[in-house]
Symmetry: C2
Subunit: 382 residues, 2 copies
């Protein structure tokens, strides 16, 4: 007799906060989660079944996949060839290696989306400063330079105002794409979940707010004009079906001053802009991701309140906001999520979610709670 009777066993490449919150959902479902982390400071390491190893090592991936019904991911930093190899050896990956590539390689994603007729900013692969200048010739300066792979939280993305700045970025290394700088009205995120049978459910459209390239706040439903929500949803559903994703597909979008909705980035895993779903939706993104990758029926995505906001807790130095947890909980309705990570400047250490009758009210609760966690940072005056 096994010491316990899981309903299924899921492998997760990665053991960060996404895996940590997936573990909470896995507990409800009786699912055993086995995670491959980098080391004991990973957010999930203290609370889950995590073995440590390099996700760029095929043997580590094999060891993880060996005992699991299915393997999924909490990040993108896995060599694509390894994923193809695992599949050829008979392991079930969800999303598949092919689908996952859309989140791993920005050039592949842009090319595939564009070919399928989805609206993307003008882009071009660039391998030299001359190619950047040629692209600037029709897209204009400033323009955006992005590394094809490995970027996250604004890393690997920069705005270059001229040739000198582009040169300083090191585009001659290869592995970059250039993009037009789109005049943005606001940024949005549309999260959908695609089941193994092709069923798709969509979460409410989210408006996102960035600081220094990191998403700091989200509100849902997004306060956007006209049929933007409808178009965003149709686009995300189309993308999920086109790439054959299974699990969460998070589509970061630009709403342009001209009313266009353009694809920014894709993620094929639970996403920071979907954390609000834990308290605010019938089924959280984490549970729905598990349901999808296990081939189980998807859960309802409806909001339980008129509005919801989320604010990330971003480290400002060595101060440990966890010491102020009680102060954060003084705010009625503030849902605290601490990731148990070592504090460091710029690091995501947690988040706060609040449900309310209006987005502004929800945001105010989140901000007060975050300010109580970081009392030395006087961030808002009202």
């Amino acid at each position: 007799v096994r010491p316990w009777s899981p309903s299924a066993t899921v492998g997760v490449v990665g053991a960060g906060q996404l895996a940590r919150m997936t573990q909470q959902a896995a507990i409800d479902l009786g699912v055993e989660l086995r995670m491959l982390g980098r080391g004991p400071t990973d957010a999930a390491a203290a609370i889950g079944n995590v073995s440590f190893g390099d996700p760029r090592d095929l043997d580590e991936l094999r060891r993880l996949a060996g005992g699991c019904d299915v393997v999924t991911f909490d990040h993108e930093l896995i060599p694509h060839g390894h994923l193809v190899e695992l599949e050829s050896e008979g392991h079930l990956l969800r999303p598949s290696a092919h689908a996952k590539l859309a989140a791993q390689d920005k050039l592949h994603a842009r090319t595939a989306m564009s070919a399928a007729g989805f609206p993307v900013p003008r882009f071009e692969p660039v391998a030299s400063i001359e190619e950047v200048e040629r692209f600037a010739g029709h897209a204009g300066w400033p323009l955006v330079l992005k590394r094809r792979t490995g970027g996250y939280d604004g890393r690997g993305v920069l705005v270059a105002s001229d040739r000198d700045e582009a040169e300083a970025a090191g585009v001659a290394d290869g592995g970059w794409i250039a993009e037009e700088l789109v005049p943005i009205l606001c940024e949005l995120s549309q999260i959908v979940v695609r089941g193994a049978d092709g069923e798709i459910v969509a979460y409410p459209l989210v408006r996102t707010f960035q600081e220094d390239g990191i998403c700091v706040e989200t509100v849902a439903p997004a306060d956007v004009p006209g049929d933007v929500a409808e178009r965003s949803r149709a686009m995300a559903e189309g993308i999920a079906a086109t790439i054959g994703a299974v699990g969460i597909v998070a589509v970061e979008l630009f709403l342009t001053a001209g009313g266009e909705v353009l694809i920014n980035e894709l993620a094929l895993r639970p996403h920071n802009t979907g954390h609000f779903t834990i308290e605010a939706c019938v089924t959280s993104q984490f549970e729905n991701h598990l349901r999808a990758v296990l081939g189980w029926p998807l859960g309802e995505t409806r909001l339980l309140a008129p509005a919801v906001a989320m604010r990330n807790l971003i480290g400002t130095g060595e101060a440990n906001p966890a010491e102020n947890a009680a102060a954060a909980l003084r705010e009625p309705g503030a849902h605290l999520h601490l990731y148990g990570k070592e504090p460091a400047g710029g690091r995501k250490l947690g988040h706060v979610t609040a449900l309310a009758d209006s987005p502004d009210e929800a945001l105010r609760t989140c901000r007060r709670a975050i300010q109580n966690l970081q009392p030395k940072e006087v961030q808002w005056t009202s």
Copy 2:
């Protein structure tokens, strides 16, 4: 540098499903939970930081308490003297040894509640069959016999119709109380949380449904006449303050045919009749229990939907309902909680919660989901 940075460390005596669900709440709060379990088949053993030992061994309790900011409980089966000893050694127990006694010893609880003016069924300690007969002389047959300590899920409680049945129960052993058999309209549960500073918050009144002495279903808010909800709440708040509890106080109540509300049992820990709070309330009973024992502010207890129901998944044999998890999730709005326990007849293996516009609708969803988990049990025809 510690591998992670918890906001606090809480010891839990016990590692069953209550500890398992408390661990899910602890993850959100960045709280490190250290549990003392019986063995690897405990519900929390597969998902948390559990050491194994006998909770009747004072040294095991000392080892647990040693590294923790506070110690709390997921069951009652700890010698009261050990709790007193731990406190005298300087360990912080919440609830305190004194308060916990009200849930450990039914005679103590009845006597204390009665002395404080709270309505309880007529009762008397009995140590011989003659004493039972004397009690029956004024309370009548049938009557209820309860062991003072150690009972749960209907164990240690029986209805005796006559002297022979009372004798068969073995009351001559001592350690029993006799109670009048109250004419019950329905059973209720009122859960309140008392903070370390004396603040009290109350969850909505719950109606509970028993089979074979085990609670199988709950609905909230309870559909009770007149001021029953108000009286139940006032009573539970009064009890929590009277015994000086910190954390959850679950008061099981009888509503009599005459409209009286009488105290049945007390539990000073998260309670089966409060599982609905995970999805249906702003703050779950598990999070509020942690907040309380840590001396943190309590969270809101409001319902997020008009009605909510919960049905327990009770094992019927060796069949493992976890294998049918996907089928349960076919029911829209059914929230599944599997405890990862080895299947056995009569064992609580999980529960399902559903929010809806009416209690009946919520109950129907729960029942369909449970039936999908146990397809061989044809339990309902409509």
